[in-house]
């Protein structure tokens, strides 16, 4: 059965409930001791960034696109190509 034809009213409460518990659990990390070290580290990083020169628009654009390419496109391409490569190798072996 396709996702469009299923009962929506049954799904929404389940999603809300799961998400609520996941989020409530997550918000509690604010009180953990590790949160203090994260705060200190973030403050130090912010201060260091304020001392640095503001990057140019071209640098921001280049950095953003590079980040997108390396962190998202590359893992995606590798994941999509791995089964093909494995199939090709196994076909060659047989």
């Amino acid at each position: 059965m396709s996702g469009l034809t299923m009962h929506w009213h049954r799904r929404i409460p389940v999603i809300i409930l799961i998400t609520f518990f996941v989020c409530v659990g997550f918000i509690r990390i604010e009180n953990l001791p590790i949160a203090e070290s994260v705060r200190l580290e973030a403050t130090a990083r912010q201060e260091a960034m304020q001392e640095r020169e503001a990057p140019t628009k071209a640098a921001i654009l280049g950095g953003s696109l590079l980040k997108l390419l390396v962190m998202m496109v590359l893992p995606g391409v590798i994941t999509a190509q791995v089964p093909r490569v494995v199939n090709a190798i196994s076909r060659r072996e047989t």
Partner: protein, 168 residues
């Protein structure tokens, strides 16, 4: 029979359009240095609503997810299920930390937000983890995405009278 085929085609087209819009919105939202914080926050709300619709459309697959992780399925199924679970949890964490670190949208709506640097740092870290996970998620579903796009492109080239009757 033609009506069923036409309906499943319509469903597939809706899913494809939603996925493409969701992907484009994800990229736009994540380029926060380019778009600015205000656009990033408002776009996130649009993304969030479409993300919920995306989950609802794929509810059948998600309901089978715990079983797929535990039971002996193929490695690809297990990876897919584990990745989807991780992606959902990480997306929740990212959205919640983003809301708690909101600087523009929530104050504009009259909702007070504590300016705790912890939440902006956490939001930044979790959002960076989303990049590879979304990339791998798209990579794993790439065969479906490619076949759907190619069949859609083929359909626009040669629409037969039978298909037209079924669609009306």
């Amino acid at each position: 029979m033609t009506q069923v085929t036409s309906k499943s085609k319509t469903t597939r087209n809706v899913l494809l359009t939603l996925d493409l819009v969701l992907g484009a919105l994800f990229v736009l939202t994540m380029l926060v240095h380019l778009t600015g914080v205000a656009a990033h926050e408002w776009l996130s709300y649009v993304f969030l609503s479409l993300f919920v619709v995306h989950i609802l459309f794929h509810w059948e697959w998600l309901s089978l997810l715990p079983g797929r992780i535990v039971k002996m399925h193929s490695g690809k199924w297990r990876l897919n299920a584990t990745l989807d679970a991780a992606l959902y949890i990480l997306m929740c964490f990212s959205i919640v930390s983003g809301l708690l670190a909101s600087r523009v949208s929530l104050p504009a709506l009259g909702i007070p937000v504590s300016e705790d640097i912890f939440w902006s740092a956490t939001h930044h870290q979790y959002s960076n983890l989303l990049f590879p996970l979304v990339g791998i998620h798209i990579g794993l579903h790439w065969p479906w995405l490619r076949s759907t796009i190619s069949s859609l492109l083929k359909k626009t080239h040669d629409i037969t009278p039978t298909v037209r009757r079924g669609e009306s």
